[in-house]
């Protein structure tokens, strides 16, 4: 196993850590302070609606990934399996249920409050529905709101789909949120939050686009999952999130201006040998070891699809304060895993060209059929369309039984050798031939 030292943190990461600590403290005292708590999912979340009604969101996938990073997921998963859940099914679900069976202790060591509302705004993942059906049984009597987000099966969002979503939001979801919150939704407040969201989204996109420069000042996958945190979870729409993204943006622009390479847990990278595009979520149980394999080899992930699960903002979507409910509907339907496979392949192709990508790598996740089913065909399509080397590794989100460090390292090293060889061949070719 690789040795992992104390992580080096960027300034924005420190701010984010403070934001998270504040949130979990608020959550731990929510019941005594009379704050209502809403459990919901990350993709297609309705955070602004929840916050505009002074409720606090909890994201079960975030609990699960935090448990994975804190090395607690293995025992949580086993507890869920003892309860009857198959070894075959999504480990996020089992980890979350196992965590609940063990007292629902959050990442800061404080107990998470039980939900007052389960808000199932499920986008791009059928298993979310099964997950909440299970949670509903585990929290008997809890209020439930369901938002069925149609899939972009035809490669676009249709007017019928928008109407369906808006009707659900206006007639079912918002009334249920208001009922639980005990107050009416202040639409002006919601609009203000969406305006904040939009500004933060502008900054986030600039951060993502910084990776187009060579060398890239950021890693868009391993560091990207930290960068996306506030926007994809409990803080979108808040002044605090805006402040965070301004800080992050300034920090990255400064790095870009100085020609600096990405920060890793072991400090700044010194060389960018390979520019990669990664499809699929990361592994959380061995996150830093996994990352280290890449930065030790000078591989920078300049674009990733996982950082689009909470919104494909770099393709133009913004929350719209002038059209709040429709904009929330469009947001839900626009997240990456709600895109059809042809749309996903087109987006990958676009990234390969825009970000001057040397290689395309899939981290195929056992637990996540939404991502994984079809990836092997996507890989073939990309190889055919772009002619760049493609790599394929397998792991899991939070089940350490499915992370084989040696296998993954071997496979990646072979892949990097292939990339290096290709680069050297391309370097020897005349410029016209390369083009």
């Amino acid at each position: 196993m690789a040795e992992v030292n104390e992580a080096v943190k960027e300034r924005s990461m420190v701010i984010q850590k403070e934001m998270l600590a504040e949130l979990f403290t608020e959550l731990s005292t929510a019941k005594e302070k009379g704050r209502k708590v809403v459990y919901t999912f990350v993709p297609g979340n309705l955070t602004e609606l929840i916050l505009a009604l002074d409720m606090l969101p909890v994201y079960p996938e975030i609990n699960a990934l935090q448990s994975g990073m804190r090395k607690k997921s293995a025992s949580y998963i086993k507890d869920a399996e003892k309860m009857g859940f198959s070894e075959d099914v999504c480990t996020y679900v089992k980890c979350d249920i196992g965590m609940m069976l063990n007292g629902n202790i959050g990442p800061t060591g404080e107990k998470l409050p039980d939900p007052d509302l389960l808000l199932l705004s499920y986008t791009g993942c059928f298993t979310f529905m099964k997950w909440f059906e299970n949670l509903e049984k585990l929290y008997p009597g809890v209020e439930i709101a369901m938002l069925h987000t149609p899939y972009q099966e035809d490669g676009r969002i249709t007017e019928d789909q928008i109407t369906y979503m808006v009707k659900q939001l206006e007639e079912e979801v918002i009334p249920k949120l208001e009922k639980v919150a005990g107050k009416k939704l202040d639409r002006a407040r919601l609009a203000k939050m969406l305006e904040n969201s939009s500004k933060a989204e502008d900054l986030w996109v600039k951060v993502l686009h910084s990776a187009k420069t060579v060398p890239s000042p950021i890693d868009s996958y391993f560091a990207g999952v930290y960068y996306m945190g506030p926007l994809f979870t409990a803080f979108r729409g808040t002044e605090r999130a805006l402040e965070y993204y301004q800080e992050l943006h300034d920090e990255i622009m400064e790095r870009q201006a100085k020609g600096l390479l990405p920060i890793t847990p072991e400090g700044e990278m010194k060389e960018e040998r390979f520019r990669l595009l990664v499809e699929g979520p990361p592994n959380w149980t061995n996150f830093r070891e996994f990352w280290k394999i890449f930065y030790d080899m000078g591989a920078v992930i300049v674009a990733s699809t996982y950082t689009k699960v909470g919104g494909v903002y770099d393709q133009g979507f913004r929350h719209d304060p002038d059209n709040p409910i429709e904009s929330l509907a469009r947001y839900c339907m626009g997240c990456y895993t709600n895109l059809s496979l042809p749309q996903r392949v087109d987006l990958l192709e676009h990234y390969i060209k825009e970000y001057k990508v040397d290689g395309f790598l899939i981290n195929s996740i056992k637990s996540c059929n939404s991502f994984s089913a079809g990836q092997l065909l996507m890989m073939r399509e990309i190889e055919k369309r772009c002619g760049i080397p493609v790599g394929f590794i397998e792991s899991d989100l939070v089940d350490p039984r499915y992370f084989s460090y040696a296998n993954i390292k071997n496979r990646l090293e072979s892949y990097f050798q292939m990339l290096a060889q290709r680069k050297s061949i391309l370097a020897q070719q005349p410029t016209t031939e390369k083009a």
């Binding site: 899939y151 079912e172 059809s340 496979l341 990836q375 065909l377």
Partner: protein, 394 residues
Amino acid sequence: MTGIKQPPARLAEILRTCEQLAFDLEFTHAKAWRKAADDRLLVGYLPIYVPREVIHAANGLPVGIMGVGDHKRIIKGDAYYQSYICHLPRGIIEMALDSNLEDFDGFLFPAICDCVRNLSGMFKLAQKGKFTRYFDYPQNFKEHIGGTFFRELIETVESDMFKLNGVKVTPERLNHSIGLYNRNRSMIEAIYDIRQEFPWRLSAVDTYYILRAGLVMPVEEHNAILEEVLELIGLDHGEAMDNIRVVVTGSFCEQPPIGMLKSMEMAGCYIVDDDLMLGSRWTQGDVDDTTDDPLGAIVTAFLEKSPSSSAVYDVGNPKGARLVDLVRHRHADGVIFCAASFCDPALLDRPELQKACDAAGIVHINFQFHENTGQFKVIKEQAGTFSDSIKLWV
């Protein structure tokens, strides 16, 4: 002579035909129907449910594509799917890459899980069929919200078909089709009712052949077969065995191999109900076939008369209670949970369904399978032990 009345010869003949049709992965019968007229269309659909009435009314033949089971060797399909993804889609992509699905005009992929959802995208990328739709039926069950959305979804399919054959789905045509499928479902339920009392007259495997054959032929032909079967199993034949009665659940999509069903039966379990061909039994009761708005009647039936299923959001209508009701209704002794490996919807439902059974005092056992599982010895032994334990102790 043993004194046991032998099953009618005609029944054996029908069963042979149905078995052959059910597992004809070239879909010969359906393709022959298609070729008989230019304006006919073949529309393949995956498990579980599509409103077949609408396809029928548009002069199409809805053809159920239930996987390849153990009837086709997977060569290319495994290269398209990771080992941790269920078996059904790899068989279907194998068929798509071979010639099995040639002559199909369109494909519908019902919204039952992420694998089937993404398979719809794979068909689009591979440019299979003249139209491919992910059939994203609503999880909101209010008429003016989910109902309106569902209606628009069906109209899109109607439009896809109209562009190909110019056949307009009129209220008259649709009411006629609804009537045929009402008859089809009511006869299937009548078969299950007879089997509830006399399960030895038609085995679960034979029932399966009859229902699955119905997925590849016009409903009119299937209705004729069902009528005959009903008449034949109404006659006294065979002899009751000292078997337990079980409900099999969890196999609504990927289908267990026939050998597995046979093993359960041979181990002493009469399967008195199941969700194997759930799409053919979807609507619980009739759809109104007398209205000026038959499409509205189909929508209402979906919202109000859908069965318990892992693919339908169950809040307000818990699946556990519905399973317990089914067990009681069929006077079953126990439940066999029988889900495909890596089937998230079925396997994520299982713990809560088991809890509901426990609370109701219903015993249960659990198996997992792939559609091409080839070893049944363990399953037979476990099902036998389950059966014996019920006979001895329950």
